[in-house]
Symmetry: C2
Subunit: 204 residues, 2 copies
DNA sequence: CTGACGTATCGGAACGGGAACGTATCGATG
DNA sequence: CATCGATACGTTCCCGTTCCGATACGTCAG
């Protein structure tokens, strides 16, 4: 169960009949995600991605059988946890930092989530890829922050507001564009945390 | 600037060479909105709407020039304020009632908002129709509830949590399906109001 | 180590198939 | 006699496939 040269034969063993370097692959992924953000999932075309990356449709279809699979692969490559590594020793400060981190999110991934929000209901693989890439890691990281606060005794483990914190953060993030017409930036989110989240948790 | 019979000549002046009664028209609107909820905006077809209402495509295109205009008309006909008429004399109770009202929202209009969320970025008329039909009236009604609470002295007019209440309500409403995998029902929203919103406003 | 050769992959382009928009025709009907 | 429903049509668009020449990688002889 410890394949070393077997599963990644490219860099060392070389050969690699595919001439697509990981960097090149990432260009494809970046391009399709960008087009999704701009035009929505349905409006994205393989031709468009091919054109914008100056590759051919054949190349894309050689690597991924179908458009949803291609998009799902792009999403999986996108997995990154932005709330990770936040641990200041204070729950209030952790949440402020999380808000700040989420603010940089704002434009890019919020639009992605928005654009894929409904397309996801049609394709199970897409659904799972989206959750695993953008939603669950962040939620889990946020819950960890809260649990550490509970462990330090800053909040009671059964405090009723606890369970709503992740939904609140993501909710405000996603909904401000609709309600106020502009994306939620770091400032807005930090103010929100201080005005609503912390007081609800009893952290003054 | 006060055309009365001119812009709505149908009901009273009647006759109207169009044989489409307002009830029939509403059937078209209901059908297209339902299909949008199920399949998303892009996947909705005029043929599908025609089939499901047993009318012909020609009939639809005689009344509305294009698909976005048709959908926009359907949205405009959908305008209904669900938070209106809430006035119990207590801010906390008003907010609980609003949460309950929003819970019935949940399935139908949340899915609609989700499905149109990105299509709206392409067509300005759609954008405006969606905001006027589903978003602004509810926000305005919610703000009125808050203002009455301020007027009664239940909350300070400059309480920092005030401005975030609408975004919080809508945010949690829209995001719970993504975070927890199920729609936000009335119970969930009322618990949320009591656990998070009211404490943040200092209403115990 | 070097240089030529075979071959698999690449990019380009064209193609078939299908779906949906929007138009047009036509008979039926009230 | 205008409007309805049905149907067929032209157009456009995109998915996914296929073919072809060009290119560059990997290999091996010298």
């Amino acid at each position: 169960m410890t394949p070393q040269a077997a599963d990644r034969p490219d860099t060392v063993v070389a050969s690699r009949r595919s001439k697509i370097t990981p960097e090149r692959e990432q260009e494809f992924f970046d391009a399709v995600l960008e087009q999704i953000r701009e035009c929505g999932y349905d409006a994205v075309t393989m031709e468009g991605v091919a054109a914008s990356t100056r590759c051919s449709k054949s190349t894309l279809y050689r690597q991924w059988k179908t458009k949803p699979q291609f998009v799902a692969a792009a999403l999986r490559s996108h997995r990154r946890v932005r709330f990770a590594g936040i641990d200041t020793g204070s729950l209030a400060e952790d949440l402020r930092q999380a808000a700040r981190a989420a603010g940089e999110w704002s434009g890019k991934d919020t639009r992605l989530l928005q654009a894929l929000g409904h397309a996801v209901m049609q394709d199970a693989e897409l659904q799972q890829a989206l959750r695993e890439a953008l939603v669950e890691p962040e939620i889990a990281a946020l819950r960890q922050i809260l649990e550490r606060g509970v462990a330090r005794g800053e909040v009671a483990a059964d405090h009723p507001a606890l369970e709503y914190v992740p939904a609140q953060m993501f909710g405000v993030l996603r909904v401000r564009p609709v309600v106020e017409g502009e994306y939620a930036d770091a400032d807005y989110l930090v103010r929100f945390v201080e005005a609503a989240v912390l007081p609800a948790l009893g952290l003054t």
